[in-house]
């Protein structure tokens, strides 16, 4: 059978086109599959993020519950015992006609009782939720200044806007963690807490004049590393941000951004 010139040309062009279309189809398939893969990876990441968030929320809830239990225990047991001891000392003092040693012991027990109640309140989430951010900061300032270890100063700019309760408790815990870190590691003399109420968010600058550290080489395993990691996780929960600036010997500055929504 004789094949004409045009038929040969058609067959060759057709088969070449078919081969090229096959190559194009492979590319298209790879592209489509890759897009599906991307969507799947994004979905997986989102699920992982949600899982982490739920885990963190559960952890925080458990922690809050534990804090509340400890607070109740302090208030109901130790607090009651100290109150009783204070009353008994008062009675003893009146019977022994103003014995100075008894007066001093009563004064010490009253101070301890006061401090203990303060600690119990700072642990109790339900109580803290009744405070505004500024009230909390001033309470913290009073409590720490009374101890005499360090001096906390505060500055405020702008009009205070109320924060949702869940957000508030997270910010309070972060600030408590900051103070805890200063007391434990910084060897600071002075702490300055500046609060700026801005249009879309609250900016809190927590600054100390302590020995500072290198934030990049803080190990996750040590207590400060864990504390900082916890602070970052907590602020992430409320879509805020936390920036730490510190160099050895030059103190530490922690800037916290808390969005209103």
């Amino acid at each position: 059978m004789q094949v004409s010139r045009d038929e040969i040309i058609f067959i060759v062009v057709f088969i070449t086109s078919l081969f090229l279309v096959a190559a194009g189809a492979i590319m298209l398939y790879v592209y489509a599959y890759n897009r599906r893969k991307h969507a799947h990876i994004k979905e997986k990441d989102l699920m992982q993020e949600n899982f982490n968030r739920q885990l963190l929320e559960a952890r925080m809830e458990m922690q809050e519950q534990a804090f509340s239990n400890i607070s109740e225990e302090i208030h109901d047991n130790v607090g009651q015992m100290l109150s009783l001891a204070s009353v008994q000392l008062g009675l003893a003092q009146s019977k022994l006609s103003n014995e100075p040693l008894l007066a001093q012991a009563k004064s010490n027990i009253d101070t301890a009782l006061h401090d203990l109640r303060d600690i119990a309140k700072s642990l109790n989430g339900s109580y803290l939720q009744q405070l505004s951010l500024l009230q909390f900061i001033h309470r913290l300032q009073r409590r720490i200044n009374r101890s005499g270890f360090i001096r906390i100063e505060t500055e405020t700019a702008g009009r205070e806007s109320a924060l949702p309760e869940q957000v508030k408790i997270i910010v309070f815990r972060i600030l408590q963690e900051c103070v805890q870190n200063v007391l434990k590691h910084a060897a600071a003399q002075r702490v300055l807490i500046q609060t700026f109420f801005e249009a879309r968010h609250i900016r809190i600058i927590f600054e100390d004049d302590g020995k500072g550290f290198n934030p990049e080489i803080t190990h996750h395993a040590d207590s400060r590393g864990l504390g900082l990691q916890n602070m970052r996780l907590r602020i992430g929960l409320i879509h805020g941000s936390l920036n730490i600036r510190s160099t050895p010997g030059n103190g530490t500055q922690i800037t916290i951004h808390v969005p209103y929504e």
């Binding site: 592209y31 991307h38 990876i41």
Partner: protein, 179 residues
């Protein structure tokens, strides 16, 4: 690319100027360069994704044996079409393996901006297009000799256009990546 341009110019000079066959020129310069360069390219680009060494080793050995046998049978006068086809089919398989492992890989890459993907894509187009072309090598040669129609020439232009188009885009992606 420079080697290909020089060979093409030399081939044009031999054919148009001296009226000599270009088979030997392509056989002993273009084909070895094409085989070496393509194998090296595939080796470099596939290496991060899967163990390519045994594949490339086997393919290179097959190509060398086929090239020598075909040239001895043809007494070094005809173009090594069968070796070219064998090499192209092997390269297509390796390109498909690359795509498979790229998709299987857990890490996501945006293939629209991934230079190795476009290099392989260009090679795949070239191999597919030129395979079809070389399958009908004798018929196309006859068409040219009888009717003076340069069909193979035009098809190769199209295939080369796809190859260099993809490669140019790959270089553009690389340039953007480095910026």
């Amino acid at each position: 690319m420079v080697a290909v341009v020089v060979i093409e110019l030399a081939g044009a000079y031999l054919w148009d100027g001296l009226q000599l066959s270009t088979n030997s020129l392509y056989n002993f310069t273009y084909l070895p360069i094409y085989f070496c360069f393509s194998s090296f390219l595939l080796y470099r680009l596939c290496r991060p994704l899967f163990k390519i060494q045994p594949w490339i080793g086997t393919v290179t050995a097959l190509i060398v044996v086929s090239y020598l046998v075909e040239n001895m049978v043809n007494r070094f006068n005809a173009l090594s079409v069968k070796t070219f086809l064998l090499a192209n089919i092997s390269y297509i398989v390796i390109c498909c393996c690359y795509f498979y492992y790229l998709l299987k890989d857990e890490a996501f890459v945006d293939i629209k901006r991934h230079p190795p993907f476009w290099i392989i894509a260009g090679l795949l187009f070239f191999c597919f297009g030129s395979t079809a072309n070389y399958l009908f090598y004798d018929i196309l040669k006859e068409v040219y000799l009888k009717h003076n129609i340069l069909l193979r020439y035009y098809l190769m232009i199209l295939v080369n256009f796809l190859l260099y188009g993809c490669w140019s885009y790959a270089f553009l992606c690389k340039y953007r990546e480095m910026k």
